[in-house]
């Protein structure tokens, strides 16, 4: 899956999880940019992304992701392997 498609699909997941139809994300989006995105909400987000993309992050990835761009890179990488 290419970056653009991944970003589009990921945007839908973010919109669902944060219940915000207008939410836009890009590579540099971080938890600081989305008010509801706290450490507890991170788990919901990660789980929802895993379900949507039918993959699993490693623990290192979950705790190491700095921004949305890194998440997208991981998703693109995994999609290649599928």
């Amino acid at each position: 899956m290419d970056r653009e498609k991944v970003t589009a699909r990921l945007t839908e997941v973010f919109r669902d999880v944060f219940d915000d139809e207008d939410l836009e994300i890009n590579d540099s989006t971080t938890a600081d940019d989305i008010e509801a995105w706290d450490s507890l909400e991170h788990i919901s987000l990660v789980s929802a992304v895993e379900k949507a993309f039918k993959m699993r992050f490693t623990m290192k990835e979950v705790s190491g992701m700095k921004n949305v761009g890194e998440m997208i890179s991981i998703l693109c990488e995994r999609a290649k392997k599928c």
């Binding site: 997941v13 669902d16 999880v17 944060f18 219940d19 509801a36 507890l40 788990i43 919901s44 789980s47 929802a48 379900k51 699993r56 623990m59 979950v62 705790s63």
Partner: protein, 596 residues
Amino acid sequence: MLKELCFPFDGDLIMQSKRKLLRLLKENESGVKLRVAVLGGSTTSDIIKVLELFLRDRGIIPEFYESEYAQYWSDAVFGTPELDEFKPELVFIHTTSRNIEEKPTVGEDETAVSGKLEREFSRYEKMWNALSEKFGCVIIQNNFEMPSERLLGNREVGVPYGRIDFITRLNVKLYDYAQKHNNFYIHDINYLSADYGLERWHELRHWHLYKYALSVSAIPQFAYSLSNIICSVMGKNKKVLALDLDNTLWGGVIGDDGQSGIEIGSETSEGQSYLRLQKYIKAHKEIGVLLTVCSKNDPENALEGLNHPDGVLKPNDFALIKANWNEKSLNLEETAQELNLLPESFVFADDNPAECEIVKAQVPEIAVLNFSDPEECIRYIDKCGYFEVTNLSADDAKRSEMYAANAQRAAAEKKFASYDEFLASLEMTAVIGDFDPVHIPRITQLTNKSNQFNCTTKRYTGAEMETVAKSTDYIRLCGRLTDKFGDNGIVSVVIGEKRNAELHIDLWLMSCRVLKRGMEYAMINRLVEEAKKAGISEIYGYYYPTKKNAMVKELYGDFGFAKISEDDGGNTVWKLETAGYSPKKIFIDIKENENG
């Protein structure tokens, strides 16, 4: 009830859209308020969020106190100013096997292990006693689930130092306490986790990352199970199980197949699975659940089915039997009135998705279970938790119902504005046309199987049907109906014999699967159209009564035919002038053939 939260729900969807669901639920703040303290031995954040959804959906508006991470014991025993001020009405203690402090070590003897068991148990007992003394609250306590690893393999049981042995004994102590104390309930996560799948339950990433003692994906099932106890304690559990008959309590259609033709009893494997279902349902009487029937059937046929010698559910097992041809939503509402219960106390089980859909739309308070086979039916009734048993006072439940009743009646208006609107919502499409050679076997079969919606009950052999199909002396129609739930297949067959400018209807039948959809009107509209094309000015309809076809006694009258004769046996003849026919209103999109 929000459809996303209705059993059987999609847990992943709930987790993903829990914010939105909460927002939707908050649009209607009516319900009983309840102060719930959640004292956790591990992370409880999402458990509380999802629990709130299920509670609000069942009419309980919770307010939560959440202990700091893993502070369950000190909060309970020593209290906190916030908790004391909060004055919980219900305390849920979310501990798991991870919270066991003194585990046995390999090789330890019985005396040492018993000591650990006592100390472990007394930690909990102290906590429960403190809570109930201070708050007089309801307490819900998780039991202990099986661990994810077994160092000793199967030997984790049967020796004093076995860890599963230890957990099992600790659980038994919890159960003993539960037996001796009112307002104390066990949340059986040992069963829940086994049912969910222990390996999936113990999602260790979620433990190491967030200190969730169970997989985040399992939280909806967990919270639902917990909400069932709370609903039951609050008198919000369901009281009536209303059941369809055909293909629900037995296999087949009693009106068409007769008592000897339906599947129930130990003779066949299908019959056995329905028998098992009947036994399971009958057992609900012992837990105080009222059983009723809500079936589209002639009453005599319904009783004939229920009196099947091999069935275990008999007519007198039911508080009320509604077997007629009215809409099921109306029947359920009437049943509720006659039993003096609210629709919200009802669970309705039916194999037919269209019937389920209309009940959900018309009476949203009723919980609906739609299943595809008897095994699934048992599983749904068993896991839906609607009949969760606790020992609440019957008076409490009644009182709240009486208060709720007036509000409920006023609110029972929304629904579809009319039955027509419902029909339109089904998005029906029909293909109506002459007999196609490939469909002759199905058409012939219908003439031999349909007994209820069948005016003349004329039977045809395959060869006779071939002859009719080839002859130019007939107008033939067969109709296939599709709706948004799927294809019903060929459901109606009409054969009329032409005699000069007259058409005599030898056969008019329809499958009862599509009753009250307007399919018969689509057929008569088309028949008149074809008749006019063929130069027919008069159409004659015949009704020959049998034990089973009372429902079509007035069919031709309904179509606008005039009754011209009736004999002593009740046989009637009807006549229609094609020129004066005004087409019946239908909500079905008609197509000429399969392709278009």
